[in-house]
Amino acid sequence: MSNSNQVDMNDVQGLILRGYNFPNIRYIIFSIKDIPGAKKFCADLASGTGSGGLSITSAEPWENMEKPEYCLNIGFTYSGLETLLGSDNCNVVSYYSSDEVFSSFTAGAVNDAVAIGDTGESAPANWWKNGGWISKEPPSVDGSELHIQLTLFTLTPENREKYYSTLLNMIEETSTGSAVTPVYYQDSDPITVDGNSDYVHFGYRDSLSQPRIDDILWNKPKMRKLMGVSSIDDRPKVPLDRFVISQEASDYNAHTLLVNGTFAAFRLLYQDEAKFEAFIHSDSSTSSELMAAKMCGRWRDGTPLVVSPDKEDKSLGEPSTKNFNFTNFNYLEPSPNQQGDQSSDELALKCPYAAHIRRANPRDDINVAGNNNNAQTHRILRRASPYGPVYDPAEKPGIQRGLVGLFIGAVLDFQFRFVTKLWLELGGFRNPDASPNSSGVDPLFGPQVADANLGDFTFSYNKNGTYNQTPNLTRFIRTDGGLYLFLPGITGLKYIAEGAIPPPLTTD
């Protein structure tokens, strides 16, 4: 894994290297109707010189460290890339890229659905049908008309409308209509609890532990000082080539078109809060808050269970991107600045192996499935945010809410697909594991309907030396849409806009 060279910030899309923390977001999916018009749209977005002047936001530091009025980022499905580049060029990119890098992207999210647990109600046949679809034509079964995904980040709802309108006005009109048409969009706005606007549905405080990427400007000591970021960040650095595609990576090849880009899974995840609330209240021997904490690995205010196994710990301070008390912890050996409980949790007495955050990022845990004791290799950048209203127990059924956004990693097979398949959905997360159901599957997602392992329908955690087993664990999250995307570097975007690819790095 390469860490040696500072990445060209001007060439990398901004959302890869930092969370913008903008409150009002619109996730839009476009279909290409006219290839020359689509290319012009991409060229204008790459250069920022088109009518309207919107441009893709790079990772370059903002002027005077002040947030701009909008940020905009772009990704392409394989279908979109093939439409703009042609099959021959795509085949060349594929040939010079490891299968891990390009194969699952080529196959697409629809074809990968079974492997990552999108079955039953979450199957692709049901995608895009629960609100947000704006095309007159119904969504196709294979999703092949979904070509481009844009994410517009703004500071106010008014600006979201304003810049969305500007964006649409940048699209060329042809004799048959717009060259590129929006077919779906989903807005995301903050969920505020007790004055804090960083909650997600199911009632958890969010965005507490994003990966710390090595060798980028934001993590240089001088920049961190300027930003007022504490130096007691214990998070292990994740190699840059896990998030920004590099031809110097030790474990994958990438065609030059992909350099400084990345891949992402776009996910539209409906959260069934009524079912979730019913489950956490279903065990008379466990309070609902404790159950919610054991399932997640954190108390709902963000306090990690390994730091404070019995209650929320307000002494950790207010969660923020500058307060690392919520992410300075390990499961076996305490991290240097870990607060609270310092004892090892090798037996998962404080935080169950089943818990969502332990499975999604095992930190220093060993003997987890397929990990080879290197969790950093599998980290995912989550640029996702809540949609829909806050749950009201008295509400009518059918209200849509959940999480929407991008799960980013340079290699889907090492990151999103690996974590989803092997750690969240498959079971057998860790060995040894003394729990009666080998810790089942991720409890926040819940078992798939067709899961043949009866133990997966139980949530177990160790309570005073014996395992408390709560039956009737069910699927709480339904996938309502999914795309595998390539998020090009700015140079890559310019090539795509020309329908061309750069020469490969040859080994001949």
Binding site: S98, D251, N253, N367, G370, L426, G428, N431, N453, T507
Partner: protein
């Protein structure tokens, strides 16, 4: 009779069979066996890696055997293993725990094994085999040319699967596979043995060089 207790064996605890017939360039048997020996030695590192690599590779047993083109397997009166005409063959058999890709990728943690496997790519000959593209993305040629097995892990898994008689889906003790694969201990993984057998750290230490083993010879039946 009462209904027997149903026990689910998690995927990561299942035992599987690897049974490879790898086509080799003719006349390179000695090099192939030398590479295999190096891989074997590298898999038993002089210094213990983080944790115990054997838990992640999950290998219970393995056999490696090289046979020249057109020759019968010695010592038995039937042909035994067969090479593809014009090529030698490397036969690899192993019992391993869990997922196929996790098992193979665990070996990538040791550079010497990666080098050995990359060397094997150069010794393979996939030309002329029906339905095999000798220069395709999962070919030994492609993998060797494009930086080796670690940079092309998925391609390497697919290459192995092409010559694997073993079925990574059929686990020991399971039914209705293409062969009968039995076990008296379903779900008994290498990791469980290491973690639970009394004195395992002394008998089978993570660093094998910490002990040496003598093997008094068992007796063959006295067949006239």
């Amino acid at each position: 009779m009462s209904t027997p207790q149903a026990i689910t064996v998690p995927i990561t605890d299942q035992q599987h069979l690897l049974f490879l017939f790898i086509p080799l360039k003719k006349g390179r048997l000695a090099e192939a066996m030398e590479a295999a020996q190096k891989v074997r030695e590298a898999a038993a590192p002089a210094a213990a890696p983080t944790g115990d690599l054997r838990k992640t590779t999950g290998v219970h047993y393995f056999t490696i055997y090289a046979q020249a083109d057109g020759t019968p397997t010695p010592g038995i009166p039937v042909p035994g293993f067969q090479s593809f005409p014009g090529k030698d063959v490397l036969v690899v058999m192993s019992i391993y725990d869990g997922q196929f890709d996790a098992y193979i990728s665990a070996f990538f943690e040791i550079d010497a094994i990666v080098q050995g496997l990359n060397g094997l790519m150069l010794l393979m000959d996939e030309t002329g085999i029906p339905n095999v593209d000798a220069n395709g993305k999962t070919s030994a040629n492609y993998i060797a040319k494009m930086g080796g097995v670690k940079k092309n892990a998925l391609a390497f898994y697919c290459l192995l699967m092409r010559y694997n008689f073993g079925d990574p889906i059929l686990s020991a003790g399971d039914k209705n596979g293409k062969y009968v694969f039995g076990t008296n201990f379903p779900g008994l993984t290498v990791a469980k043995i290491i973690d639970n057998y009394p004195g395992a750290d002394k008998i089978w230490p993570a660093t094998p060089s910490d002990v040496s083993y003598d093997f008094p010879k068992a007796q063959k039946p006295d067949c006239k």
